[in-house]
């Protein structure tokens, strides 16, 4: 039974991520179409049924799998094959340490809705993200194409620059909640400030939240931070990729978008917390309560987590189709001369406030 719970958790979490990522590939086309007053993807059908073009997800994957798989003659065959796998693997592994629900007592079993409960969970996610860079760098190098190499170098330069800002931003959140465990952070966000305001990260770390979201968007390498890919100029590290290997890079972009949304939810939007919902049900600060069975509480909290993640993904896509892209020097200037100093300022201010409040 213990094993069954573990396997069920992993399967649920993995299929949620993959499902959301593939829905995002459709959403990207449909949402941009709506924003630009077009109809968008609607041609793929099964027996005439189109359901808003959702079958395009299946059609796209069949296309990816059956396309010719090409390795450049001068390229490095092994590294060219391995690179997209590295990128996809490390993008997915990072999710393991993120809780998508609390701990529940159901029928005598303790169910903790987190795959890998680590007391340094946040650092684990960052470690996996920093390893993911190799997929893009190696993909660019192994293609033996100067444009691909340029894209790979841009990708690593951009990801390193923004990872520093991301790490420095998160320090403020770590200071406020006093833990590196993502589950502990979520539990801490269930507390109330002044007796009625939920202690979510966005309220305690407003500047940190904005900086983190910006840096996380830069990590996904999508517009407005799409210099490594630059579809209209160098095409980027995957210029020599085709078929499913390109598909892996393509999917990695969306999985990273989901990861950015999941991390933002966990750190700044209360994770699986629903305001005033506790293990026994709702308890409102103005008096009054509403009892709920444990399973209902679990479903509500997991549902709230998914809804928050989905909303953030939607907003990220909105940003992607609203803003024009940065030039390389603007990107670097934003990262190093604006965001990094601001995130250090955030640490200092948080420290001072914590000292005052603590005394």
């Amino acid at each position: 039974m213990e094993y069954a719970i573990d396997v069920g958790k992993v399967l649920f979490w993995f299929s949620s991520i993959m499902g959301l990522a593939s829905i995002l590939t459709w959403m990207e086309r449909k949402q941009s179409a709506v924003m630009q007053d077009r109809i968008g993807a609607n041609r793929a059908d099964i027996f005439g049924f189109r359901i808003l073009g959702l079958f395009h997800i299946i059609a796209d994957s069949i296309k990816m799998f059956t396309k010719q798989d090409f390795v450049p003659a001068q390229g490095n065959r092994i590294l060219h094959t391995v690179a997209p796998m590295i990128a996809l693997f490390f993008a997915l592994v990072g999710f393991a340490a993120v809780p998508f629900g609390g701990t529940y007592e159901i029928a005598g079993y303790t169910v903790s809705l987190q795959v890998l409960d680590l007391n340094v969970g946040l650092l684990f996610v960052f470690a996996m993200m920093s390893m993911g860079i190799y997929g893009f760098v190696l993909g660019g190098w192994a293609s033996a194409n100067n444009y691909a190499l340029l894209g790979g170098l841009r990708a690593s330069g951009q990801m390193i620059s923004y990872e520093i800002t991301m790490g420095a931003t998160v320090i403020g959140t770590i200071m406020v909640y006093g833990t590196l465990s993502l589950q502990q952070m979520n539990i801490a966000q269930g507390e109330l400030l002044f007796g009625w305001i939920p202690a979510w990260g966005i309220l305690l770390q407003p500047l940190g939240c904005i900086l983190f979201v910006t840096a996380a968007l830069a990590e996904t390498k999508r517009v407005p931070f799409d210099v490594p890919e630059g579809e209209s100029e160098i095409i980027g590290y995957f210029v020599e990729y085709s078929g499913m290997r390109f598909g892996m890079f393509f999917l990695t972009d969306f999985i990273e978008t989901v990861l950015a949304a999941v991390l933002t939810t966990t750190l700044f939007f209360g994770g699986w917390q629903v305001p005033y919902l506790y293990a026994g049900g709702f308890e409102f600060p103005w008096g009054g309560s509403f009892e709920l069975p444990v399973v209902a509480v679990m479903l509500l909290q997991v549902g709230a987590f998914m809804a928050k993640v989905f909303t953030l993904c939607f907003i990220f896509l909105l940003i992607r189709w609203t803003l024009p892209r940065f030039r390389w020097d603007q990107l670097m200037r934003l990262g190093w001369t604006i965001m990094l100093p601001l995130s250090i300022l955030n640490i200092v201010v948080t420290g001072v406030v914590l000292l005052i409040v603590g005394n």
Binding site: V120, S130, V137
Partner: protein
Amino acid sequence: MEQLVFYLFATIAVVAGLVVVLQRKAIYSALALIVCFGSIAVLFYQLGAFFIAAIQVIVYAGAIMVMFLFVVMLIDPESEFFSFNRIRRVSVLALPMSAVLALILLWAMPVLRESDTNSQSLAQKGSIEVIARSLFSDYLLPFEVTSILILVAVLGAMVLAKKVD
């Protein structure tokens, strides 16, 4: 199971370490070093030192090795920089330095073996709370001095890299 994982990753670490030294192509050496760091991180994880394992991956396998890979990729592998003659001159130093390292390890092993009888204490030593406490109290001065040293090194690199007109 735990033993199996240990032997698997210990073997990977040793083999990868050998590849780093024996491989002629610089890019494979760099990649093998990343694998080596990664498997050592797994060993730290097994000892219960999660924080050190995470930092090992972020700092060594992640940040530092990306810089190595940058250099290797940007420099032509046929160039003088990687030529065998150039390396042979340095390799004279390799034997004495390896000997010194081996001696240090031989000296340290009995000491470590005595202290790790209680693996519980070892796990606690690697936890973030203990490391933070000793860094910011007992070793505050060395810690701050090191950070200033790194800052000076960064500034020095900037000065060297930027052309003065």
